[in-house]
Symmetry: D2
Subunit: 192 residues, 4 copies
């Protein structure tokens, strides 16, 4: 059975909402098992991500979708600590041939989210993974992919909300992204 | 006298509007001479930009602000042909120490404009130039820098307009960008 | 039958050598048809790439591998003109789901080749393609992937040579890259 | 008096060697005060960089040169935690108008170091800083800037060495880089 894992870091809770949307999209594809993993700040000891069990779980996935906020124009520090911890998989080519994809959140429409997606791609390519982008043309500048990202899914929080909220269309963008990755993972797996 | 040149390519006319805003911002700074140059498609012969006079004019500028649409996620083809033609300046270190800055337009809020700005920075760094960004925090997500760019100025056209129009705030973003580059060019020149 | 096309621009002839290596790698995979297309400067009229027949040929490919020199830190002007000309495929989602990959050549080990590969990825993602990287760990800093690229294949010319020559290992890097893309294209096609 | 700070993270000790070279270059410029600060893993608590005194020291600098290893294709996790901690300076525009520059080390010639430099630029631009690149044309592919970087200085370790060592030319690249940043900082300060 094809397995697609979503692994994310979220501080304020909006990336968590996006991750849940992506996970829902993955789960909507028949014959695909969806997994959701969270990177916790408490797992970072002296700058090292220390949850080896999470990395072991990902070893068994056919696709990994990485998500985090964009902080100061790049992936969040906790996500970077996690990515650093994939070094042993790099040595071993352990994730070679898996699919990779990404999503990120920041306060403004651009917010340099593209640089975060580029960093996620760069790490994925070092690991020998294959990158699946968003493939949603923003026809009407509303709804799905209203922000006009292509490397992955981008989102924005609603400010002044009492609880974490994504702007209209962003969760749907994530759902469609997860579904696309799952479908391609299934297709690639069937051909193996 | 400090001279700041704006050099741009525009097909539909919206990048031209942005360029005029940037130029206006440069001209608003006392003691700075503002210049506006356009890259024409007719100047590209077999993929080579052939207007040597334009390049010669830029040799005398203290700062050069590059502008173009983002096409398929990077600087427009005509801008790239122009950038290729700076090769002789690279050999000669002719533009070393000049300031550089950039702006770009595309149809969606992100629209991968950041990748175009990165390509403009990369070329500028090859030429030994010094990069000046936007420095406008998008406090209220409207008006100046409503899109949340930092490497340079980003804009979007208004669709369905009979004539080229920029979305509200984008021209003002360009004006402020031009003024900032001019002020820093003046400061750097005074210290030489 | 799975079809993989290599489309490249070359001025001095070294990118052509690399392209031939990549093409050889593609052709080495049983059941895969390899195609080689060249972007000519003469096909660029007023900055527009005008060879519609070449674009039509690519419509039928399962994977497209883009190659060009890195000029002033980004894809060469002729390659950019070609990429601009894929706009109709963007509107139509015509290349969605195809594989994409890339290679580039410049005079120094880094030479900002990574920025060219990022620009190729960005365009490919706008087109809805799926990106396949190099997946060659540079174990001994010689031979295959001696330069340490991951997003695609990088190469360098030999200077002072009477005819175009690539440095040792670079053509082999390209051959292995072509073979990998072909294998994944075949696998993805089998699962469709 | 013009003050230029070098702030770096180093695990194995080679980035430290590069940082010392950059610092030496800064100190070689008459009338410029050179400072050297280190980011320690022990200062990262739950993924947050906690050395507020270091950030306070940087507030007084005219230029900040950031250095770190490239891990998995981007700035090291500890450097990213540090960059995240500049958020309060972003809100306050506290570092606006300062110069910024960068250097990075990884095991292969390219090693995706360019992506790390892009991430450093992106953060610097969010902070309103002005980016100074390397400006060293790699004439003979040996010695200074033998690797062909432009956005900042790149280096590589010598493998199999008992103690940390940089490859020939890399420290000199760093020294020249530090000197250039110091000279431009002095010039900009004189013009203020």
């Amino acid at each position: 059975m094809t397995t697609v894992a979503v692994v994310y870091h979220s501080d304020s809770g909006t990336t968590k909402l996006m991750a849940e949307g992506v996970h829902e999209g993955v789960a909507s594809v028949a014959g695909v098992k969806a997994q959701l993993y969270v990177i916790e700040r408490s797992e970072i000891i002296e700058g090292h991500f220390q949850n080896e069990a999470l990395l072991d779980s990902l070893d068994a996935a056919d696709a990994i979708i990485f998500g985090c906020p964009t902080f100061m124009g790049d992936v969040s520090g906790p996500m970077k600590a996690f990515l650093d911890a994939t070094l042993q998989r790099w040595y071993a080519h352990a994730w070679s041939g898996k699919l990779a994809a990404g999503f990120t959140i920041s306060g403004t429409p651009s917010g340099d989210k593209l640089n975060s997606l580029q960093s996620l791609i760069t790490c994925s390519m070092q690991l020998g993974m294959i990158w699946v982008g968003l493939d949603q043309n923003p026809v009407n500048r509303e709804g799905r992919n209203r922000l006009g990202f292509y490397l992955g899914a981008g989102g924005q929080p609603v400010y002044g909300s009492d609880e974490p909220r994504l702007q209209d269309g962003d969760r749907e963008t994530g759902v469609a992204h997860g579904a696309r990755v799952a479908q391609i993972a299934k297709q690639l797996g069937s051909g193996a």
